[in-house]
């Protein structure tokens, strides 16, 4: 990668960090391996105190990997940590952010250095991509200390991410996008737990349930999804198979930006498709910020051997219905909302009922399907409701005409969940807010 391209990528990811509120205005670091014209391995890293959401070219420093503290006093105070992470085999990029929700989820009293209780994701992305557990380490001096430079890389030799207790998360990746992807998933797992608490869920019970859950078709076996990790095996993240149709490409980009910016699905998760005649146009990592694309592919509809999730589900929808578009997202608000149990009920309900006026008319109810749902059952629900939540499987929505139409459903479900959460926070009785007519659906 040319130096200029790398800088542009770091600027775009910094902006994406700001967009998703990954840390305060100045914290965190973005780093990548880079070899200069003399062939010297360097760390490309953000300047200390720089605003990650508004990086300029001069905010990127290039100290040598072997002498990170020589002549580069502008580089991040955590440059040495990143240089060591980047020395791990296969690590081309590393990132650090304060990931507030994940920090809160793992917060503990100050004390001696040592391992702390891990962050156990209860959401499918965390379970699938974060190995079911993110290690947490308590440091006596939890910022810029030599101890951190020594211990953090050791964690990352074995795990894709780790957390410094009460401080933030570190992640490595084969590229900057992958490091950011992992960082986002850590924060997402913390956020889902935060929301679940708001919906009255018992976290320890959820952890046990998550660990014991049998994944159905929609459940995520680790690294088996088409989102994120698969994408980073792709040669060109900016590949577009339908550049000859700029209007269609714009539709995908616009949709991807909305998904990312509104937090409908974490970075490079979710997927979106448009049905053509015997192919489908597909974004396998639909959530994307500006300047950090995901591949836009044209793939055949009739590949019977293709079993990977979620491509096979998109194909199934198009092969067995007239829907023209489909979007799948891992929306944290929905992941948490489906955990809510009505008072006195042992099991959570099989639907989410809107309590706000707009959604009450647009969506009398949003069905919640079990993780073991078969594609045909999902499609039936989509026929009746256009959108459905699958336990441990995200939100699926369809459109008869456009991506925008499907996106509206995913986006609306997020808001529906937030209204319910807000009502609970105010101590309101949800059953009194749910329209009587919704019970018929």
């Amino acid at each position: 990668m040319k130096q200029g391209d790398l800088i542009d990528k770091m600027i775009a990811i910094g902006s994406a960090c700001l967009n998703r509120d990954m840390q305060d205005s100045h914290s965190g670091n973005i780093a990548a391996r880079w070899t200069n014209e003399e062939g010297t391995p360097c760390v490309a890293i953000t300047r200390t105190g720089s605003q990650k959401g508004g990086l300029e070219r001069a905010d990127i420093c290039f100290p040598a990997m072997e002498s990170t503290d020589f002549g580069h006093y502008r580089a991040s105070s955590e440059t040495t940590i990143h240089a060591r992470i980047l020395s791990i085999e296969g690590a081309q990029a590393s990132m650090h952010a304060h990931t507030k929700n994940a920090v809160v989820a793992t917060m503990g009293p100050a004390g001696k250095s040592g391992p702390a209780a891990p962050l156990v994701p209860i959401d499918p992305l965390g379970r699938g991509f974060l190995e079911g557990s993110v290690p947490v380490h308590r440091f006596a001096v939890p910022s810029g200390s030599p101890e951190m430079a020594k211990i953090i890389p050791k964690y990352l030799e074995k795990h894709p991410t780790m957390m410094v207790q009460n401080h933030g998360a570190f992640a490595r990746g084969r590229c900057l996008e992958e490091a950011f992807f992992r960082l986002c998933l850590v924060e997402n797992s913390g956020y889902v737990r935060h929301l679940a608490r708001g919906f009255g869920a018992d976290e320890s019970t959820l952890e046990r349930e998550a660990a014991a859950a049998r994944d159905g078709l929609f459940g995520l076996a680790p690294l088996a999804t088409g989102s994120g990790a698969d994408v980073y095996r792709h040669e060109r993240l900016d590949q577009c198979d339908f550049d000859d149709e700029p209007q269609t490409k714009r539709e995908f980009l616009k949709t991807g930006f909305r998904i990312f910016e509104q937090g409908i699905s974490p970075f490079h998760t979710g997927s979106a498709s448009i049905r053509c005649v015997d192919t489908m146009l597909h974004a396998p990592a639909a959530s994307m910020p500006r300047g950090v694309p995901s591949p836009l592919l044209e793939i055949p509809l009739d590949d019977e051997d293709e079993k990977s999730f979620p491509v096979s589900i998109h194909r199934y929808i198009f092969r067995h219905s007239n829907f023209q578009t489909a979007i799948h997202t891992f929306t944290p608000e929905a992941e948490a909302a489906i955990l809510y149990r009505d008072p006195g009920e042992a099991e959570p309900p099989d639907r989410i009922i809107p309590v706000d006026a707009e959604a009450s008319f647009l969506y009398p109810a949003v069905p919640v399907l079990p993780a073991e749902t078969e594609p045909g059952e999902l499609l039936e629900a989509l026929h009746d409701y256009n959108v459905a939540v699958v336990r441990r499987g995200g939100i699926w929505a369809v459109g008869e005409q456009s991506l925008s139409e499907a996106l509206h459903h995913n986006s609306s479900v997020r808001d529906i969940c937030l209204y319910r959460l807000g009502a609970l926070a105010r101590g309101l009785d949800l059953s009194e807010l749910e329209p009587e007519s919704a019970r018929k659906w």
Binding site: E245, V277, F361, H383, N386, G399, Q401, K440
Partner: protein, 613 residues
Amino acid sequence: MDFIYGGYRGRLLEVDLSSGKLDTLPLPEELCKEYVGGRGLATRLLWDAMPPEADPLSPESAVVVASSPLVGTPAPTAGRGHAVFKSPLTGTIGSSNSGGDWAVFLKRCGYDALIIKGKSPEPVIVKIETGGAKLLPAGKLWGMDSHEATDSMLEGLDPKISRVLTIGPAGENQVRFASLVNNKNRVYGRGGPGAIFGSKNLKAVVVSGDQAVSIRDEELFRTGVDQGLYRLRAAPGTNRILRELGTAGLVRLIDVIDMLPHRNYQDTIHKLEDLNKISGEAIRKNILRRAKGCYRCPIACQRHTQVGTKEGEGPEFETVVLMGPVCGTYDLEAITLANYGCNEMGMDTITYGGTVACAMELFESGALTAADTGGIDLRFGNGEALKSLVPLVARREGIGDALAEGSRRLAERFGRPDLSMSVKGLEFPAYDPRASFIQALGYMTSPSGACHLRGGYAVSLAFFGGPREIPRFSVRQAPAAVRNVQNAGIILDTLGVCRFTSFAFHVDTWARMLSGATGAEFSTSHLEAMAERVAALERLFNLRAGVINTDDTLPERFQTESIATEEGDSLIAPDKIEKMRSGYYAVRGWDPGGVPTRETTERLGLSALEAKS
């Protein structure tokens, strides 16, 4: 005894004009589930009522007008009827939908649909009442325009329960694009059903009925209605633009997306000050008397207007553009008066405007001369000619006789078939296909020719679609997108409701209302399968009528002459046509020749019908 399903009357009225026999027939229960009503039911009934090979103006042909289980209920806009016939203009299946509320009162008489066959030896009317139906001599009604005839037939009837469906002189003279008129100004316009009435010596069908329509599951039905009404109020297209400006509110919007045709579709270039003379805003400011809605319609896009001392209804958007810029004029007064004339004479204003525009280009090219026109100066922009030709066409006098055949036959007769802007002989409406590939494919594959409604009103989603905006320039997306908008249109035509509701809500809401009204489960997937069935049956009809795959195309002009659009210069080159057409056949389950495959007909339950044919 109650019919098995709510919403229906369970009876059909079949009128054989040759024998003078009127039969009340039971509505087969299976047709309710398979074809529902409106366009679906009428298409299925036509299949049995006439051979597709028949001359549409012969006694062998038939016309079916059907209501639906929602028609006459409180469901929003549910007052529309659908006429299906073989078009004398195109030779394809003709399919035309109308607002007004004649269909409501047909149903209140106790009938779900009316089947008309044969030919009466003398001009007659059909009079239907709650207790039965009879034929009456038309007498002096024959020769009256649609307004006079309506007033005359309503004399002595209770105006609260009586309505008239009639033809004007154009229908009597078998003008190939003559319409059926109800409520004086609401028309079954496209494809020439009025000419068939005329060929059968049938002037009108008068209905007087007061039987209420029953709803089986009131709570479920009401939930759907409430949802629909809420969304109609929330959507700007249905809550503001159409109400405040009528359909002509589209003039400026369609110009913005480079689709507003000009001078027989030679270009889409207009001056803003010209458009401001014919826009919805101009109509509201200069000629509007009051706005009104059809049956149970909260949208209220009807425009009751006045020019000088003459009052009437319209012009609607399509009429404004076809009689206006397509004929090279922006004279709102001339357009409005020509529109009034067409309604009174009973002629489709779109085909009329398109045919006059064709004549104007023929005239300017020298193919048509002043000697041919009887001295009428037919250059583009002549609003006077636009007005004065109306009665000549309706009565087939002078050059009017040639125009009464429609643009395709006119252009062929004068040696320039390339100047007819039509598909299968039906003139284009007011959206230039070069600015939307998806709309272009809709025109190509519409069963009844270049009709924006039967072809799938794809372009409407470009400006009123809200979240459903379709990219206009995607060849890849076009086939499935067109199939979907066509199916959605079939569903609305089948339910007897207005297309404009689709700017606010979708099939799932209608499915709730339909399930509530009938007491039977009509899911969205069931309705989509029904739409596929209707589309295939329309195709089978057309195939037997002689339509072939190469008829699914566009005029040469759209293939070779580009217009300027936001995506650059645009035309629909032959390779794009072929790619979109073959893709469309594939997503429909039709073979490369456009014939539904055996697998498709079996899946849709059409094998027996096909075999019977």
